[in-house]
Symmetry: C2
Subunit: 235 residues, 2 copies
DNA sequence: AGTAAAATCTGACAAATGTCAGTATCAAGA
DNA sequence: TCTTGATACTGACATTTGTCAGATTTTACT
């Protein structure tokens, strides 16, 4: 977690995929000046459960997980966010303490936009307000979706789905099959909501059915069609 | 689902607990005129998965469940809403089809506020916009919370928690112990994310431990302290 | 490159939960 | 009020998943 050369919001490719695209030149310049950019190494906290929010976090480059500790002390990963996403809306807007943590899963550079300037722009710019509402609403929809999947699907389906979620969040290598993911088996288990052993066993099944191959920690999705079908997704 | 005498928003006790409290007299009058009020009988749909939203729904009186069908055809109840709550924000704001259904669990009178007038007020009134964001954010937070609870807690804890959720949503009779809930055991199972038999078994356990009593479908919470402790809630 | 710590993987077993079948009870509607 | 279909409940059993122990491999760091 180090300070470093601050990026310019004006020319930032990440800004244009967020609600900040709704702002005028002056507002962007002001945010660019007031933001705090930091480098987060893998596994370092961007924010943690129980802390009070100080603003929203715009991911300039990298990936984070949004996760939460269960009563039993085990982690559950609720979602991922990457380059061009903003995290931390909900807690700031609800005016509460974080009930989730945000942790870098890769070395990432992330900008904190302070509350005060965020709220001012939301108040003054209805398009930005609507953009924020749109984004939170999407999050709520996918989170609701996930509740049903986690409670009503067997582990095999959930592991297949986790692979697809990882593919969405991190993408594939140039070969078109290798997951660009730094996640451990334990982290995959935290997506699925199960024990690491169960994930490993299911991945072994998939290997023996020639749906995936593995090479150490990395996974190749060699039969996407079948995985999608196993994941049993509708919508 | 019948039309009936339309309530007046101006004097409506439900309005003041929603984002509509942020509006001026003229705007309230306009909404009062443009809304459509309906009576929904138990188990009738306010809206259904797959439909396109036509506005937001303000619950004038009654209770609804927000639920979703799993791939296996079983229902999962995500949340409840009652008198003075508004439902349907997220889908409208995300500009998508409903991915959940809203079903009356009691005879309820509910007002539809059309999209057009909702969006106009959100655009023109920053306080209302922020109020809406606040409400959605709260929903997102409780939904995230629920993911962790559903995946990492054993059934006994989840059933205890479901009883507390029902108490929050429906309240207690004058005796201070009887749940004012029309829910069947199957619906409770849909909150917990399990089979009805498992719920019944757990309730029988609770009975034999003198934590609850039952009388047909109704349940009395005679030892709240113990139930809270079993539910194992933090935050 | 070498080493220590961490992560992956396998098997055996235990525990939790789901499923099925059947009976008893309740509640909504004629 | 009566009746009938739905709901609640119980027990036995199958299945899934979690847990524990231990061997192997990989990764991270010096």
């Amino acid at each position: 977690m180090h300070a470093f050369k601050q990026p310019e919001c004006n020319s930032c490719g990440s800004r244009v995929s967020t609600c900040l695209i709704e702002l005028g030149t002056n507002q962007v310049a002001e945010i660019s000046q007031q933001k705090h950019s930091q480098l987060f190494t893998r596994n370092s906290y961007v924010f943690a459960e129980g802390q009070y929010p100080r603003g929203i976090y715009c991911i300039h480059k990298g990936h984070v997980k949004i996760s939460k500790m269960g009563a039993d002390g085990r982690e559950h990963i609720i979602s991922f966010a990457g380059t061009g996403n903003i995290v931390g809306y909900a807690t700031l807007l609800a005016a509460e303490k974080y009930n989730v943590s945000c942790i870098a899963v890769q070395d990432s550079s992330i900008c904190l936009i302070p509350s005060e300037i965020f709220f001012r722009n939301v108040r003054e710019n209805p398009s930005m307000a609507l953009h924020v509402m749109h984004d939170i609403s999407q999050e709520l929809r996918t989170t609701s979706q996930r509740i049903v999947e986690l409670t009503h699907k067997p582990i095999r389906e959930r592991v297949a789905e986790a692979l697809l979620i990882i593919k969405e969040a991190f993408g594939l290598d140039a070969d078109g099959v290798t997951l660009r993911s730094p996640l451990t088996r334990e982290e995959i288990a935290s997506i699925v909501g199960t024990a690491p052993e169960s994930v490993i066993r299911t991945l072994s099944e998939f290997k023996s059915e020639n749906l995936i191959t593995t090479n150490g920690r990395t996974i190749q999705l060699v039969n996407m069609r079948a995985l999608v079908s196993i994941a049993n997704i509708r919508d």
